[in-house]
């Protein structure tokens, strides 16, 4: 679905090239320019960028609308869809809309509970779970029908992604949980932040034992910890993130004006280490609020800005969006 052959996440994964994805959090508001500005910082550096869906249960511009903006700005979007805010009818129709608009990738997840978001008084939906939503997407695309069994006129063509947390209990079930998502239809999976490469490698060994890398590309989640405040937030404020003691000691061991640089160095070292873990197909760089730093991190890790849709031609999505071209 990319604008030229050989580009985009699907082609990168199919060619066995090490993939790079990043994340774009839509703004709280209707400012299209904020989305475009973030996309332009990433353009060329990533195969595709996740567009989050009310991340952390905080209301933002929707992931479908923002994905269209990202695509127009020359970055291949990965539209995130969570089960928190929509029932199975709305989930299916939004997935079909993404197909109609030429969104090349979707990422399906359960989603954070509203309890920790900005609308804790909202109804949590969770009509489907992440595995069932993945299964639903594959049914739409490969069977060409709704959950009801009714036929679709025109099948969506997106690549189906999902997520897994290698570090959350029960540890020995986490690779099997990814296997369920692969059985349900996931073709790529991004992981929670990896700060503990040894722990990740143990999980990855389980993933290989289950034969998953041949069926589903695993992209390891990474990100820079740029301040002790962020370190504390990741340790205590975000469910499911494991920050090992040696990372904390290292960041606390440098002068305060050097923490940001040290955090970026750790991130680059982590990317280098993850490239050596057998079965890892790429990295997913989460630098929320620090998109401008993504090129430097990737350049330091030895990547070149030759990824994503070709930039000499207008992105294909332009002609597919009503009111454009």
């Amino acid at each position: 679905m990319s604008t030229s052959p050989g580009n985009g996440l699907r082609a990168t994964l199919a060619a066995g090239r090490f993939a790079v994805t990043a994340e774009i959090g839509p703004p709280r508001g209707a400012d299209a320019g904020a989305v475009v500005a973030k996309a332009e910082m990433l353009r060329g550096w990533v195969d595709a960028a996740n567009v989050t869906d009310n991340q952390g249960a905080h209301v933002r511009m929707g992931s479908l609308g923002a994905s269209v903006l990202v695509q127009r700005a020359g970055v291949e979007p990965i539209m995130q869809v969570t089960c928190r805010d929509r029932n199975r009818m709305a989930l299916q129709s939004d997935l079909l809309s993404a197909g109609a608009l030429g969104i090349p990738n979707v990422l399906l997840l359960t989603g954070d509970h509203p309890r920790y978001g900005d609308h804790p008084d909202a109804m949590p939906v969770f009509d489907l779970d992440g595995v069932q939503l993945t299964w639903t997407a594959r049914t739409l695309r490969d069977e060409g029908e709704l959950l009801s069994g009714r036929d679709l006129a025109g099948r969506p063509g997106w690549l189906i992604g999902s997520v897994e947390n290698p570090f959350a209990p029960p540890a020995s079930f986490r690779a099997r949980r990814l296997a369920k998502k692969v059985a349900a239809g996931a073709e790529f999976a991004q992981t929670q932040y990896v700060f503990d490469v040894d722990g990740f490698a143990r999980w990855m060994a389980d993933v290989r034992d289950l034969g998953l890398p041949e069926r589903c590309a695993v992209l390891a989640g990474v990100g820079p910890v740029r301040s002790l405040r962020v370190l504390e937030y990741l340790r205590t404020g975000v469910p499911g993130i494991h920050v090992p003691d040696h990372l904390e000691r290292r960041l606390r061991g440098v002068p305060s004006d050097r923490v940001a640089a040290e955090g970026i160095r750790v991130c680059v070292e982590t990317i280098d280490a993850l490239r050596e873990v057998p079965g890892v197909a790429g990295v997913h760089l989460m630098a929320f609020g620090y998109e401008r730093g993504v090129p430097d991190i990737l350049a330091a890790a030895g990547f070149s800005p030759d990824r994503g849709p070709a930039h000499d031609a207008p992105p294909r999505a332009l002609s597919a969006v009503p009111g454009e071209g």
Partner: protein, 177 residues
Amino acid sequence: MDPVPDTSWPRPRTPRISARASYAAHALLARNGAYRALASFVERHPGLERAFTRGERVSKEHLFGCRMCGQCALPATGYACPQTCPKQLRNGPCGGVSPEGRCEVHPEMTCVWVTAYERAEASGHGEDLDRLQRPLDHRRWGRSSWLSYWQGRDADLWTAPGEDRPLLRRELGLTPR
């Protein structure tokens, strides 16, 4: 101002009955012709069905924290009820489980899927958790799951082991094929 109590969300429940006793009880209640006939008879008499359903509700609520989704997953989850998960996940734990195995939404409680995993593994039923659980039919909330089970309506709540490309349940829709 006092924080608003969050009791409306499901709360993880550690069962009051061991996994071993639960599997044994299931063996006694397993589907057969007599139970099928009984269930069919009960469903033809509304008063009897109400009384039966109340009995199921009271006992399963006490033992498992049952919320009467009407499509009992207990036999495939180590007899820990996934509907007591605040996200009502049917296919395993979310990514927010704390390192100590606590629930993301109710941090003072053990994740029900951690409980389910430990119970299923310890009683030799760990592979049950690899099955894909199909979406709920929300029309069945409040109805007896046992009556449905005995009459074979629960036969495809989850996939069989090793089933490769399982299909979603079609009889839920308007136009099943």
